[in-house]
Symmetry: C2
Subunit: 228 residues, 2 copies
């Protein structure tokens, strides 16, 4: 199975001002596409920490696909694209195709380009911009050797729109895996009792993954979700 | 500022079957306690990946405090405690104090100890168990040099109960920092316009952190949260 890492960039995520629903969405989609999601991480908007987590996802977690969310906007602390350039050792340049995408968005409203808006078109030199159907900042796609880097905006609706329109169709074409799954909810059985049975099944059928998740209270009113 | 990392252990988290609300809760609490949360990460229930992320949080992200959630339960894939022992290079042993905590929980219901239940009392040799007021698996506290490791259950209600009863009071005593924050919601101003003003403030007042978060649509009906 190819390995994937999901990286959320933003102080608001690590500091808990927002709930990272992007990580759940991407973890789910990647798993169902047949990816082994080995790491889901978030770091603050700081250059050295973003570069570091890109390096860790790639080298230490051997990811084939690295998807980042957040930090593509117009403000001073949106530096994901620049960090990606730095990590890849590429020049950070205005991408003409991306600039045209951004320009058209603002022109349609009778607005021009400013340094803050041009910034959203800056990318690693070898990057390909990905159209953002509902927002202004384009996504970023970089293929480097056999690794694929995808950077998406942090606003969930924009992230999902780009993912569904451009990224998932591209990845789906490359994947051969089919995943089936089912969740059973059981009441009145303690996890520490179910554990014995689950351990036996998993030993006998190594291709099947079984996970119990306690939803109630182990002692008193146990409710278990059993994910197979 | 002391640095903290928050690590969620569990396939269900990285694969997006559950939303990682623990990361938000802990990121928020740690930030308000004066910690610089440099990394929030989740990895699957696999020994080598858990040990790796513990190493990365400690060495590469220089965390003074490492808080893990998940993987303390009775099933075969609950291996956070064992991974912590492995990472610390300590023997993984039954902690007598923890065993007594677990025993009492089951005895109160007329139940005895089984291997699965005893497993929840196994910890690194130097660990101190932390009482779990509402669940069965105790938390784990290890002080190693000037680093503090805290392992909590993944069930949010249990995690929060242990945090509020034992961990936060302990950390609060050690902290001197006070944080003030306010969020202002602005309608009708595009982020790419606000960016110019924010950039100016941040340059002039380096101790103040200002972040704009788009909530509406940049072009059309812009709504901005400005966090100061």
């Amino acid at each position: 199975m190819p390995r994937a890492s999901v990286l959320a960039i933003g102080n608001e995520v690590v500091q808990g001002r927002v709930l990272n629903t992007n990580a759940q969405y991407l973890g789910r989609r990647l798993t169902l596409l047949g990816y082994d999601v080995v790491l889901s991480a978030s770091v603050p908007d700081r250059m050295e920490l973003i570069v570091e987590i890109l390096r860790i996802a790639t080298d230490r977690f051997s990811s084939d696909l690295i998807v980042t969310t957040g930090g593509l906007g117009p403000t001073y602390d949106d530096i994901t694209s620049e960090a990606l350039s730095k990590y890849l050792g590429e020049e950070h340049v205005v991408n003409e195709e991306a600039l045209e995408m951004v320009r058209q968005k603002y022109v349609a409203r009778g607005l021009g380009l400013t340094p803050e808006r041009i910034k959203m078109a800056m990318m690693p030199k070898s990057a390909k911009p990905i159209p953002n159907p509902i927002g202004t900042a384009p996504g970023i796609l970089v293929k480097k050797g056999n690794k694929l880097f995808v950077s998406l905006p942090g606003v969930p609706s924009e992230m999902q729109a780009i993912w569904e329109q451009s990224i998932e169709p591209m990845l789906r074409n490359a994947s051969q895996v089919r995943i089936s799954e089912v969740t059973i909810t059981v009441k009145g059985v303690m996890e520490s009792v179910a554990a014995r049975i689950v351990n036996k099944i998993v030993k006998e059928k190594p291709k099947i993954y079984v996970k119990t998740q306690p939803k109630g209270i182990e002692l008193g009113s146990p409710v278990l979700d059993i994910y197979i």
